[in-house]
């Protein structure tokens, strides 16, 4: 194959695949600004004839979208904070602090990765019901606050910390907590950003667990609210697209801003073998 042809082929395919990847998202944005009913025509219009914010107004004023947005933000933020705290402490311990049974425990945790999370859902629901945590933020946060993946991520990164650094601090009489907060934590910053995005996106995008544990409509997260809206408003395409925009744009923006950290974490997580 000659070079010009190969170059045209590669770039053509890249462009085609990019159009396929982005077109649904761009169309969502376009339809969300259309007049109610405008998108239910054949052929479907590509751009709004008279752009309007009516759908967003309807969502926030009548459908309670502000509430759902707040719920999602609160649950995702709480999950992220707890996940950062618990997984970082444990990941550092598994990397740098020798304690009895450490290696065996870690292998056990990795083995637990093959259990699908849904197996635990029925008893977890009953447990949270006993604790009166069903239909609370806490109930939605609990399964995501510590995880094998998060511990693994931090451990892999923390292993590259030089032992001499920690030893020197110990000889100077620093306590383990002080070493952790003053010496270890600052050097872990890149992986903390990675862990934070993973936790936040995971909690924000999660659907099945919030659907189960948050049956009270006031507590619905965006995905749960959107799913139930889409069952009620089957015909209101413009409204649904605006709802999809509100749900998707925050995570897309977060990803675009912190892309490097996210992709790095994805690769660390997948080389475990």
């Amino acid at each position: 194959m000659n070079d010009r042809l190969a170059r045209a082929l590669v770039n053509g395919l890249l462009l085609g695949l990019a159009v396929l990847s982005l077109a649904p998202l761009l169309w969502m944005l376009s339809v969300s600004f259309m007049q109610p009913g405008e998108a239910s025509h054949f052929p479907p219009p590509l751009l709004p004839s008279a752009p309007t914010l009516a759908n967003y107004r309807e969502l926030f004023l009548r459908a309670g979208m502000g509430r759902f947005l707040f719920n999602s933000a609160a649950i995702a933020s709480l999950t992220t904070l707890l996940s950062l705290l618990l997984n970082t402490l444990a990941g550092y311990a598994f990397a740098k602090l020798r304690f009895a049974g450490r290696e065996r425990l870690f292998r056990g945790l990795l083995a637990a990765l093959i259990i699908p999370a849904q197996v635990a859902m029925m008893p977890l629901f009953l447990l949270l019901k006993q604790l009166h945590l069903v239909n609370t933020y806490a109930g939605a946060v609990v399964p995501g606050m510590a995880g094998v993946f998060g511990i693994f991520l931090v451990r892999q990164y923390a292993r590259s910390l030089p032992d001499e650094l920690l030893e020197a601090a110990r000889i100077d009489g620093a306590g383990e907590l002080r070493i952790f907060f003053q010496i270890v934590l600052p050097t872990l910053k890149p992986i903390l950003v990675t862990l934070a995005i993973f936790s936040f996106l995971g909690a924000w995008n999660d659907f099945m667990w919030p659907l189960i544990v948050l049956s009270d409509e006031h507590l619905h997260t965006l995905p749960v609210a959107l799913a139930s809206l889409s069952r009620e408003h089957v015909q209101d395409n413009e409204l649904m697209m605006a709802g999809a925009v509100v749900t998707v744009v925050p995570v897309l923006v977060l990803f675009l801003a912190l892309q490097r950290y996210y992709l790095q974490g994805l690769l660390v997580g997948s080389v475990k073998g």
Binding site: S21, L25, W27, L105, A120, A146, F207, A244, S270
Partner: protein
């Protein structure tokens, strides 16, 4: 001495959370699957009875369970290879030195991965709408009559598979791209000197070198695809004619719609069993091929 105690103290909160909110519930799920836990037991635990393997036996005779299993396997068997093939293709395109603006394309391909399943499923439901959907409009240009994508039992699952591939291919693409970048350039050099064509280079250099990556991606993707739930929940509600009821959809309905938590736990365990079986099979196959 002190570091050893600190190790336990630092690890304890996360381990306790995983133990209480994951590992113990998993064990409890097995116990639960051996009982007739239903809405009466939910109200009053005295209504709970031990039934042994009765839930499993009932499920294995239930046509809906087999239907759900068949649908899930259809989704996995078609979706996983298709997804991996598209991921590999995209990674090869991004890896090629002939491409322009490669960082832009990488971001564009990855964007669907970070989006919320429910939200993009709503978009796809509209894209594939029989009357107003862009897809049917596009097809009408080449003379195809409107297809009732999500309302026809023959087309509903293929549509969901296409959706899943679109949503997920970027993830494996990144892993493949890293794999491709780690293949030493001199291997290709040597192959070129021996007169190997591009196709031969791909079959005899790229694929073998990607062996471990392929295995890893295969395992991760299988595990993910077995957990099909949100897509049918939003796009088809299991229909039409139960053609998109997945195993997890069945578990959800049994457990949290009808409150048969005993049966739902049995469904979850059967899925777990199936997933570990398939994963071990794949690893055994890979080891035999020496691609460990």
């Amino acid at each position: 001495m002190r570091a050893s105690l600190a190790g336990w103290v630092f690890a304890a909160p996360a381990l306790a959370a995983i133990l209480v909110f994951f590992l113990l519930p998993v064990l409890a799920a097995f116990a639960l699957s051996l009982t007739d836990f239903d809405i009466y037991a939910l109200a009053d635990l005295r209504n709970l009875r031990f039934v042994g393997l009765h839930n499993y036996a009932t499920l294995l005779q239930d046509p809906l369970f087999w239907k759900a299993l068949g649908n899930t396997l259809y989704f996995v068997v078609v979706g996983v290879p298709l997804s991996i093939a598209v991921s590999l293709g995209a990674a090869l395109l991004l890896h090629s030195k002939l491409g322009w603006f490669r960082p832009f394309f990488r971001t564009a391909f990855f964007a669907p991965v970070v989006t919320t399943v429910v939200a993009v499923a709503v978009i796809w439901r509209y894209l594939f709408h029989t009357r107003y959907g862009l897809v049917n409009w596009g097809l009408s240009w080449i003379g195809v009559h409107p297809v009732d994508w999500l309302g026809d039992p023959r087309w509903a699952m293929p549509t969901i598979i296409l959706f899943a591939v679109w949503k997920n291919f970027g993830y494996n693409m990144i892993i493949f791209l890293a794999g491709l970048q780690s293949i030493p350039e001199d291997l290709y050099e040597a192959a070129r000197i021996d007169g190997a064509s591009r196709r031969h280079q791909f079959v005899h250099v790229t694929l073998p070198m990607l062996g471990p990556t392929l295995l890893l991606v295969g395992i991760l993707t299988l595990a993910g695809y077995f957990q099909l739930f949100a897509e049918p929940y939003v796009m088809t509600q299991g229909g039409p004619l139960q053609s998109t009821v997945s195993v997890l959809y069945l578990m959800y309905e049994q457990g949290f719609k009808w409150w048969n938590l005993g049966v739902a736990s049995a469904v979850a365990f059967l899925l777990f069993l199936l997933m570990s079986g398939v994963t071990s099979g794949l690893m055994w196959f890979a080891r035999r091929r020496g691609a460990e």
